[in-house]
C-alpha cells in the first residue's frame, strides 16, 4: 500500500514550505517500494537541522525556507575535460558522452534503487527518492571493468533552476581503475548529488571534486563508499561552499588491507558555508586511512569539519589511521567549527589526529612584505601554500586547474 501525500506530511514533524515542495515532487514520480523507503528515511528527520547532532553547524532547514530558483547560472567553469568524456546532469536532463574511457560502461536505471543505511544520510536518502527525472533516468550506474586510461568527468550544473537532484552509482570490478572528476558548479537553488562507490577486490579509484555554489544556493554532495579487499580509494575535494554546502563521505573498509585517502580544502568568503563531514569505519583488519583537511575562511564565511574514525573491537585490528584538520581564520569574523572524533575499541591499532585553527604568522607576513610583496598578495600566497598539501592527491589532469581556482579566489578575496 503506497503512502498518500497526507500520510507523508504526517511523517514529517512540522514540514516547512521547502519540505512540502519536496513532498509534492515525490508525489509526481512513479510509485516504487525503493523510492518510498528512501523517502520515509528522509521524512524521519526532514531537512537536516541544527538540533541534530551531526548537523548542528550546518542547518539545511533554516537555510532552505522554500525551494526557489537560483538567481544565478553556474558559479564557475567545470574542471577542464579537453576531449575526455563528460556526463552532464542538469535539472531536467542528462547528457551522456558518445565515447567513454576504455573499461567503462554506463547503465541507465529508470526506476529507483535501494539505498543501504539511508537513515544515516538524510540528504542522500532524499536524493535516492527524488533523483528520478519523470519518464527518464533515475540512477546512472558506472561500471568499471579494467584500468580506464583517461578520466571520466561528471558535471552537475544548473541554469537558474530550482533543483538538481542526481544519483550515480559506481562499481569498480576486481583490479579495475577509474579516475573520476566531478564539478559541482551550482546554478540550482537546491542541488543534491548522491554517489555510491563499490570497490571490489584490488580495485582503485581516484575521485577529484570541485564544489562552488552561489550565496543563495544549498548544495549537498554525499558519497557512500565501500572498500573491498586491498582496494584503494583516493578522494580530493576543493569546496568554495554556498549559502549552505556539505560534502559528506561515509566510507567503510569492508575487507582487509584497503587504503583510503580523504583530502579536502575549503575556502569560504563572506556569505559562504562549506562543511566537510566524514565517517570512516574500519570494519576489517589492516586497513589504512589518511585524511588531511585544510581550510581558510574570511570574515562572514563559515567552515565546518567533522571527521570520525570508528574502529570496532576485534574486527578493526591493525588499523592505521590519521586525521588532520587545519584551518586559517584570515579575518576577524571568520568562523570555523571542528569536531574530530576517534572512536576506537580495538586495541592493536595506530590512530592519530590533529586539529588546529589560527591566523597567518605575522613573522612570515612581515618577511614577505620586507621583500616587497604587498600584504594582500603575501596573505594569499601563504594561504595557497597552506592548503596546497590537501590538493596534492587530485588527479594530475586537473590538479593545476584546482590550484588555479584556489589562487584566483585568494587573489580576489584576500585583503
Amino acid at each position: 500500500m503506497a503512502l498518500s501525500v497526507s500520510d507523508l506530511k504526517d511523517k514529517f514533524r512540522n514540514p516547512g514550505a521547502a519540505e512540502l515542495e519536496l513532498i509534492a515532487r515525490y508525489a509526481m514520480l512513479p510509485e516504487s517500494g525503493q523510492r518510498e523507503r528512501a523517502f520515509e528515511a528522509f521524512a524521519s528527520t526532514g531537512l537536516p537541522h541544527r538540533r541534530m547532532e551531526a548537523w548542528k553547524w550546518t542547518d539545511f532547514k533554516a537555510n532552505l525556507k522554500s525551494v526557489e530558483a537560483s538567481s544565478r547560472g553556474a558559479q564557475c567553469a567545470p574542471l577542464p575535460a579537453a576531449d575526455q568524456a563528460v556526463i552532464e546532469f542538469s535539472a531536467g536532463s542528462v547528457s551522456l558522452p558518445t565515447s567513454l574511457p576504455n573499461g567503462v560502461k554506463l547503465h541507465e536505471r529508470k526506476d529507483a534503487q535501494a539505498l543501504g543505511d539511508a537513515e544515516e544520510v538524510p540528504l542522500g536518502a532524499m536524493t535516492a527518492a527524488l533523483a528520478g527525472r519523470v519518464g527518464g533516468l533515475d540512477t546512472l550506474i558506472i561500471e568499471v571493468t579494467e584500468t580506464a586510461t583517461t578520466p571520466l568527468h561528471i558535471v552537475a550544473k544548473g541554469d537558474r533552476d530550482e533543483t538538481n537532484f542526481t544519483r550515480v552509482s559506481v562499481i569498480v570490478r576486481p583490479g579495475a581503475h577509474l579516475d573520476l572528476v566531478e564539478s559541482h558548479v551550482g546554478g540550482a537553488g537546491f542541488s543534491s548529488f548522491l554517489i555510491e562507490i563499490g570497490m571490489q577486490d584490488g580495485g582503485s579509484f581516484n575521485r577529484t571534486v570541485l564544489q562552488h555554489g552561489s550565496a543563495d544556493e544549498a548544495q549537498a554532495i554525499t558519497a557512500v563508499v565501500n572498500l573491498g579487499d586491498k582496494s584503494e580509494y583516493t578522494q580530493t575535494a576543493l569546496a568554495f561552499g554556498a549559502k549552505v554546502a556539505r560534502l559528506e563521505t561515509r566510507l567503510t573498509h569492508q575487507e582487509s588491507g584497503s587504503h583510503a585517502e580523504l583530502n579536502g580544502a575549503y575556502l569560504c568568503a563572506k556569505g559562504f558555508h562549506a562543511d566537510f563531514t566524514s565517517h570512516v569505519r574500519h570494519g576489517a583488519p589492516s586497513s589504512v586511512t589518511r585524511q588531511v583537511t585544510k581550510g581558510a575562511v574570511l570574515d562572514g564565511g563559515t567552515g565546518v569539519f567533522q571527521g570520525k574514525f570508528h574502529v570496532p573491537r576485534t574486527i578493526g585490528q591493525h588499523t592505521d589511521a590519521d586525521m588532520q584538520h587545519q584551518a586559517l581564520l584570515l579575518e576577524d569574523g571568520a568562523e570555523v567549527f571542528a569536531k574530530p572524533e576517534l572512536e576506537i575499541y580495538a586495541d592493536d591499532v595506530e590512530c592519530a589526529h590533529g586539529n588546529t585553527s589560527g591566523a597567518l604568522d605575522p613573522n612570515q607576513l612581515f618577511y614577505m612584505r620586507q621583500r616587497g610583496i604587498p600584504e594582500a598578495q603575501a596573505r594569499a600566497l601563504l594561504t595557497e601554500a597552506f592548503i596546497a598539501e590537501a590538493l596534492e592527491t587530485a588527479h594530475e589532469s586537473v590538479r593545476d586547474a584546482l590550484t588555479d581556482a584556489a589562487r584566483s579566489f585568494l587573489m580576489e578575496s584576500v585583503r
Binding site: F366, R371, G372, A385
Partner: protein, 253 residues
C-alpha cells in the same frame, strides 16, 4: 642617502612600552658601507626592524629618510620597492613557497610598484642560476620551500642570494656573518663587495671583526643603550675586538 635623526622607538603596548631606540642619529652616504657593532640587546635588530617597518614598534620621535623620503610614512612593501632590503638575523621559514617562486614574486612586485616591467622567465632563471652558483646554492635547493629545513648558514646565504637578485639601493645586513663557516663568510663578503656601488649604501651589523676584514667598512659605529655612542674608522672594530666594549666605552663615558 640614509639619514636618521634623533630617532626614538618603543616596543610593547601602553604601560608596557619600553624605549629601545633612544635618540639615534646616523648618516650613511651613497657609495659607503658602514658597520654597526654593539653589545647584545643594544637595539641593533630593533633599529633594522624600525627602519623596515615591522609591526610592534612605535616611533616616538625623530626621523628616518632614505634619499630624502620619509621611510616611517611607508608600508614595509613600499620601503622595499624604494630599494630598502634587510638580511634578517633570523630568516623566516615560508613553507610551501619555493625559493624561486618567492624571489620572482618579490622581484616582480617591486618592479610593478616602481612602474617597471616584469622580468622575463628566462632572464630570471639565468640570473638565479649564476648567483646560485656563486653562493653555492644548487638548483635543487632553489626549488625547496624558502628556508624550510635549510641549515643556519644556508639560510644566511639565501638572504644574500635574495639581496643580489633584488639589487636593493640600501641594504641592512643584520648579523649575516653569524653561523657562517669560513668559506661561506668569504662568499658572502664577496657578494656584498660585488654590490658596492656609488649609488648604493649598506649598513652591516656584526659582532665580529672577521667579516669587516673582507668588507672593509668606511665607518664603524658603536650602538649601545639605543644610540650611536662612538664612531670611527675600521680601526675602531679592531680596538673593540682587542679591548672589548668595556675598554672602549669606558673611555667614551
Amino acid at each position: 642617502m640614509l639619514k636618521l635623526d634623533q630617532l626614538s622607538a618603543t616596543v610593547g603596548e601602553d604601560d608596557e612600552a619600553k624605549t629601545i631606540i633612544n635618540g639615534l642619529s646616523l648618516e650613511v652616504p651613497a657609495g659607503e658601507v658602514h658597520a654597526i657593532m654593539g653589545p647584545n640587546g643594544a637595539g641593533k635588530s630593533t633599529l633594522s626592524y624600525v627602519l623596515t617597518g615591522r609591526g610592534g614598534y612605535e616611533v616616538t620621535g625623530g626621523s628616518a629618510l632614505l634619499e630624502g623620503e620619509d621611510l616611517l610614512e611607508m608600508d614595509p612593501e613600499e620601503r622595499a620597492a624604494k630599494g630598502l632590503f634587510l638580511s634578517f638575523q633570523y630568516p623566516v621559514e615560508i613553507p610551501g613557497v619555493p625559493v624561486m617562486t618567492f624571489v620572482r614574486t618579490a622581484m616582480n612586485a617591486q618592479r610593478s610598484a616602481r612602474g617597471e616591467e616584469e622580468i622575463s622567465a628566462p632572464d630570471f632563471i639565468k640570473r638565479s642560476r649564476e648567483l646560485g652558483k656563486q653562493l653555492n646554492l644548487t638548483p635543487e635547493m632553489l626549488k625547496r620551500p624558502l628556508n624550510v629545513g635549510f641549515s643556519g648558514g644556508e639560510k644566511k646565504r639565501l638572504e644574500i642570494f635574495q639581496m643580489m637578485m633584488l639589487e636593493p639601493r640600501f641594504a641592512i645586513l643584520d648579523e649575516t656573518d653569524s653561523g657562517l663557516d669560513i668559506d661561506a663568510l668569504r662568499t658572502v663578503a664577496d657578494g656584498v663587495n660585488a654590490l658596492r656601488d656609488p649609488a648604493r649604501g649598506m649598513l652591516v651589523i656584526t659582532h665580529y671583526q672577521r667579516l669587516l676584514d673582507h668588507i672593509k667598512p668606511d665607518k664603524v659605529h658603536v650602538l649601545a643603550g639605543g644610540k650611536i655612542i662612538k664612531t670611527g674608522g675600521p680601526e675602531l672594530a679592531l680596538r673593540l675586538e682587542k679591548e672589548g666594549y668595556d675598554g672602549v666605552l669606558g673611555e667614551a663615558a
